[in-house]
Symmetry: C2
Subunit: 133 residues, 2 copies
């Protein structure tokens, strides 16, 4: 979306709205934050929850969330590697926002948008999970 980071936006009273949006935009950040709200997750655990995301995307989105101070990345020096992602204190402050987004979506996408082909994708998800583990 090409929002400019850490710079002036429009500076009108609605400025704060945009400022927040620019932090959680990025095609997958909303969902990632949502899932992390429910607890710490490993890299592939997140992937399994986001069937359509590519490794590259997941990595970059997580890096951005980390840079913005929302997500904590913990690397365990083991073989095989293990990396856990959890929300920081700051990340948890986004909970009301994420929940508001989810609440609206739950109420208003039921009649109209999204909803289809979900079955297919969940199939993909579970079979992918089998293949991985």
């Amino acid at each position: 979306m090409t929002r400019i980071r850490h710079q002036s936006l429009d500076c009108s009273p609605g400025c704060a709205v945009e400022a927040t949006l620019q932090l959680i935009d990025g095609k997958w950040k909303g969902v990632i934050l949502y899932h992390l709200l429910q607890g710490t997750l490993r890299f592939n655990a997140i992937r399994k929850r986001l069937p359509n995301i590519t490794q590259r995307m997941l990595t970059t989105q997580l890096r951005e969330l980390e840079r913005d101070g929302f997500v904590l990345r913990t690397v365990y020096p083991e073989v095989p590697p293990k990396v856990e992602y959890s929300l920081t204190q700051r990340g948890r402050t986004l909970k009301p926002v994420i929940m508001a987004l989810k609440a609206w979506g739950d109420e208003h996408t039921a009649f109209g948008y999204v909803t289809e082909t979900c079955a297919d994708q969940n199939d993909l998800l579970t079979s992918a999970a089998k293949g991985i583990e």
Copy 2:
């Protein structure tokens, strides 16, 4: 941001979060909705509140909001033309979301992001206003 519209997303429980985000994303939609929450506005009235937006962008963003059923566009057949934008019923259901975004921004951008060069831009805003009206 290239979110896919009206299609399956990731279909995980966080689906609703993304579904909502994809509707209010677009570089300016958040702020536009915020301002319209406070009442009906004419085209140039919105422009004055968004110093950095181009006509083209304002038009396209408004059209998308209209298409998604959030905004009502009323054209008065006068000379010079007069067009008013207001929120629909559905648009007003987004209020909790917008407010959550604003609340977070107000609390968390004060110490860190945005805040600078606002003076300059507000100057531009007022002088532009003088030139127009």
